[in-house]
Amino acid sequence: MNTSNTKEVSLGHSYDGIQEYDNPLPGWWKWLFWGTIAFSPLYLMYYHNGTPGRSIADQYTEGVNENTRKQYAEIGDLQGDEATMVKYLKEPKWVGVGQAIFKANCVSCHGADGGGNVGPNLCDESFKHIKTLPDIVKVINEGVAGGAMPAWGNRFSHKNDAILVSIYVASLRGSSPATAKAPDGSPIPAWPKD
């Protein structure tokens, strides 16, 4: 075996011809190892000493509150009554928010543009369980027809979500989707204008 490097000391071990040098641990290796060991109790003490706001659950709650403020600080808690819904139906920004909620949760049954799939077409004039605007909120929150339309009340992170997505659904009425499922239910009066 080649042991030409004179600075290194061979230990005289030989296993099937394999020898070993007596080199020390590389300094950077040793200090990084000590560093990671020293870091651990510090981390543990910081995050697990019981100070409020540092646990994952606390940080999440804070995140949710901040997110809620970001979403709804401007409008506060909405009521799902007719007057409110008529008002927001005229505000494209909030209909857009409703559309985002719709895209996240509703398209797999009602189609990307509300034309219907497993669920009914939302763009035509016929409805099965809806006569007024607040009925939409009720159907979304509580579900109808034995789970055919599931109850979504618990699934949204804020009460406003159900109301805004209802507004978006209301806005779909009269639009022309790419593929439209045949009308179901019976025609109802037009939404109030104001």
Partner: protein, 804 residues
């Protein structure tokens, strides 16, 4: 180095040793002659190549099924269901780990142990039993996994009869044979490679046994004795350490033997070997919980997982340093020798993976990477780069020696190296990009605090091009493996008519050996306190030298190192109730749901769908309230998953109509255009066996689920729930019969029953009769309108059945 080189003759070494021994006057007499069993090494080597081909081709197939989910469209669903992604993905991982890497380990151990111990394996019969037993286990895996016979715990999918076989083959045939060989060795001290082999054998046994404790109900089905959070902890204690002690420690042992052999250079540092061996073995075992960051696992366990992973960084790199620095003075050889090239790149990938591992275990990084392809890229860097290349280097080194001829083509080995290297890069780079892209898309929020990509399918579609590129990389890697197989075959054809079996001689070890006296400390006589002198002596490692000649003590110490660390995490998890706060509304599954859950497990749904929503705003906005530990107390095994190829299903219950599920199983495209989920049409035609359900309920009851009905009522209860769900589907516009059979009798109905239940109990009414629930045990953090919850009882049939 020259490929024509004959096996190094240990004769010379033995005489050296003899001379040394006789000069010390202790072991002069009793020369024994012996030969090595290279036949068993040849068998394991050939098996390694064969399973390497199978494992990589299976990988290519599952990769293809992701981009072409309808590949089997023309096939009868009865057969195509056996070849779905969710059934084949475990086959690929098991083949890569246990068949390919496993056989490679055994080839390395059998070749090197005999030579390091100057001793033939203790029993040729045990060696053969080990070989054939292991191959039988692999074949059993290849048959049962596509059939859906699975425990669904990653890398521990095999059902209990096969697990028993593994325990016997591993511990008795392999472990017994190995330890007896150590006992009978003619080399006084054990070389570092052997330490790693000892750690491997001991720890894999412990992991395997404790993760696979189950209650069987038939030859092909069992339930984990652990549930939910505890099951998850045990599984990832196992899963992580399977990587540690099946894919790391034995390969480090392999490196410590074959690298200095091929490079003909001494190992860089004996001291580093000692420190990195013990720190690796002790620290690794704690790191498992880093697979469960932000889950329902208690935060303290998750923190332990992260901190020990970070501390593991340097111990892992110790192996890399000792490998790469051993090559100092031999770099000129690397340029001309494909074997050393394989080793250098393999060790480099080891260094990369073991840096990335601690990085991914940092919670905030994991928040992005978890459930994405980043993990897939990470494991492939390790598996293809480290395990694959170390194995290939070893095989090219052994081929001329074992077949006692020249390697058929050195240039083909060179080609294998380059194609393999480019293949790995083309595989991992796009998949890293895919992982980061999808992770960022999942969490992206717009100015209004809404998900920017609310449609899950959109995030999948954005990474499909990367999946295609990955296939090119994987194919190149496979071409390399084919070249290896061909080269090995051609080498074999030029073997001699009869293998030479060299006979060696060495003295038997005698009792009454005296360790070399501890050398004088450099500090002796220097004006320092006595403790410093003592410390200096400890640092000189002479105590360890003593352990190295005591295999039993060494084995016991290694066992203690892994068991103590394991107990620190497992015992509190099982004994302290507050780790899994109970939720009063969480009830056992109904008989039909239980049967449906077993279908979910058997189909391998967990391979693409997680059931664990993390407490992150982007995640709860997408999927609903985050998962709580108490929700999983009846989940045996847990189904949290590790990769979201499809969306999370933890709050799937009641999210879609039952008819939606029915349609979705028939053709996912109908409900989710752009989805990469294949059709599960066979579930619509398969009949559910009601007679098997009582056994499932009995097992659940035995494991602690409280049911108020008798086992004799189970079939009727299941039947009624199935009828109720079928009625719902029909009412929602679904068919009464499908391909001539009533839909109520199909397995799909049971699966739908389960899916409609998942994650619902958290918001269930506190008492069965209660009207709209005010009193949920856990209030949604952000004040979701609990009061809006509709009682809905009886409508889907679920809650009614529960109460009967």
């Amino acid at each position: 180095m020259s490929f024509a080189e004959q096996p190094l003759s240990p004769q010379a070494v033995s005489t050296d040793e003899m001379a040394r021994n006789s000069s010390s006057g202790r072991e002069a007499q009793g020369l024994e002659t012996f030969s090595y069993d290279d036949g068993i090494v040849r068998m394991f080597m050939v098996a390694t190549i064969f399973w390497g081909l199978i494992a990589t081709v299976a990988g290519l197939l599952v990769g293809l099924l992701l981009v072409l989910p309808n590949l089997w469209q023309g096939m009868d669903p009865k057969y195509s269901s056996l070849l779905s992604f969710s059934r084949l993905r475990p086959l690929h991982t098991n083949a890569a780990i246990f068949a390919f890497a496993g056989n490679a380990i055994f080839a390395a151990v059998y070749y090197s142990t005999q030579r390091l111990c100057k001793c033939r394996m203790w029993s040729d019969t045990l060696s053969r039993l080990h070989f054939w037993g292991w191959q039988f286990i692999i074949v059993a895996a290849a048959v049962t996994l596509p059939l859906g016979i699975t425990q669904s715990k990653e890398y521990a999918e095999l059902e209990w009869p096969i697990d028993l076989a593994i325990a016997v083959v591993w511990l008795v045939f392999f472990g017994g044979n190995f330890l007896m060989t150590l006992w009978n060795r003619r080399e006084r001290h054990m070389y570092v490679a052997l330490w790693f082999y000892i750690a491997t054998i001991v720890t894999v046994t412990v992991l395997h046994v404790f993760n696979n404790l189950v209650v069987p109900i038939s030859w092909g089905k069992s339930y984990s004795v652990y549930a939910g959070v505890q099951d998850a902890l045990m599984q990832w204690w196992y899963g992580h350490n399977a990587v540690a002690f099946f894919l790391t420690t034995p390969f480090l042992g392999l490196m410590y033997y074959f690298l200095p052999k091929a490079a003909e250079r001494p190992v860089f540092s004996y001291k580093l070997s000692i420190i990195h061996f013990w720190s690796l073995v002790f620290i690794y075992i704690w790191a498992g919980p880093h697979h469960l960051h932000y889950t329902a696992l208690p935060e303290w366990a998750s923190t332990f997982g992260m901190l020990f992973s970070v501390m593991l960084w340097m111990p892992s790199w110790g192996g890399m340093i000792n490998g790469l620095l051993t090559l100092r003075g031999a770099w000129n050889k690397v340029t001309s020798d494909p074997i050393l090239k394989f080793f250098v790149v393999g060790i480099t990938f080891y260094g990369m993976s073991t840096f990335e591992g601690p990085l991914l275990s940092v919670k905030s990084v994991n928040a992005l990477s978890h459930y994405t392809d980043w993990t897939i890229a990470h494991v492939h860097a390790g598996a293809l780069g480290w395990n694959g290349f170390m194995t290939f280097g070893m095989i090219y080194w052994m081929l001329p020696r074992l077949f006692q001829t020249k390697l058929w083509s050195k240039s083909m080995a060179e080609w294998h190296f380059w194609l393999g290297t480019i293949g790995i890069l083309l595989y991992i780079i796009p998949i890293y990009m895919a992982g980061i892209t999808q992770g960022l898309m999942w969490r992206a929020m717009d100015d209004l605090g809404r998900l920017q990509y609310p449609d899950f399918v959109e995030t999948v579609q954005s990474i499909v091009p990367y999946w295609w590129t990955r296939l090119i990389g994987g194919s190149l890697y496979i071409v390399g493996v084919v070249m290896l197989a061909f080269n090995a075959f051609m080498t074999w054809t030029t073997r001699p008519a009869k293998y030479e079996v060299p006979v060696y001689s060495a003295p038997r070890l005698t009792k009454g050996y005296h360790d070399q006296p501890i050398g004088k400390s450099k500090l002796q006589g220097v004006p320092v306190i006595d403790a410093a002198v003592a410390l200096d002596k400890v640092a000189a490692m002479d105590w360890h030298r003593r352990w190295e000649r005591l295999p039993i003590r060494f084995t016991i110490l290694t066992t203690l190192a892994v068991i103590i660390a394991s107990l620190f995490e497992a015992v509190p998890m099982f004994l302290i109730r507050s780790n899994v706060p109970t939720i009063s509304t969480v009830k056992p599954y109904t008989p039909l749901e239980l049967a449906g859950r077993d279908i979910y497990v058997s189909e391998g749904c967990y391979n693409c769908h997680s059931q664990m929503i993390r407490p992150m705003v982007a995640e709860t906005q997408r999927y609903g309230e985050y998962s709580k530990a108490g929700e999983f107390i009846y989940d045996r095994p847990f189904q949290w998953g590790s990769r979201r190829i499809g969306p999370d299903l933890a709050r799937e219950g009641g999210k879609q109509s039952s008819f939606w599920h029915w349609t979705h199983f028939e053709d996912p495209y109908k409900t989710s255009p752009g989805s990469v989920m294949p059709s599960y049409k066979h579930l619509l035609t398969e009949r559910l066996n009601l007679k098997e359900i009582p056994k499932r309920v009995e097992a659940a009851r035995f494991l602690g689920a409280e049911y108020e009905f008798e086992l004799s009522e189970v079939e009727g209860i299941a039947q009624r729930q199935a009828e109720a769900i079928a009625a719902d589907i029909i009412a929602q516009g679904g068919p009464v019969t499908f391909e001539g059979e009533l839909i109520k009798d199909s397995t799909a109905i049971a699966l739908i029953a389960y899916l409609q239940r998942v994650g619902k109990d958290l918001f269930a009414p506190a008492t069965p009769a209660a009207a709209p629930a005010e009193a949920t045990a856990v209030t949604p953090v952000s004040g979701a309108p609990a009061a809006d919850l509709d009682g809905n009882s009886g409508e889907s049939g679920n809650s009614d059945e529960k109460k009967e």
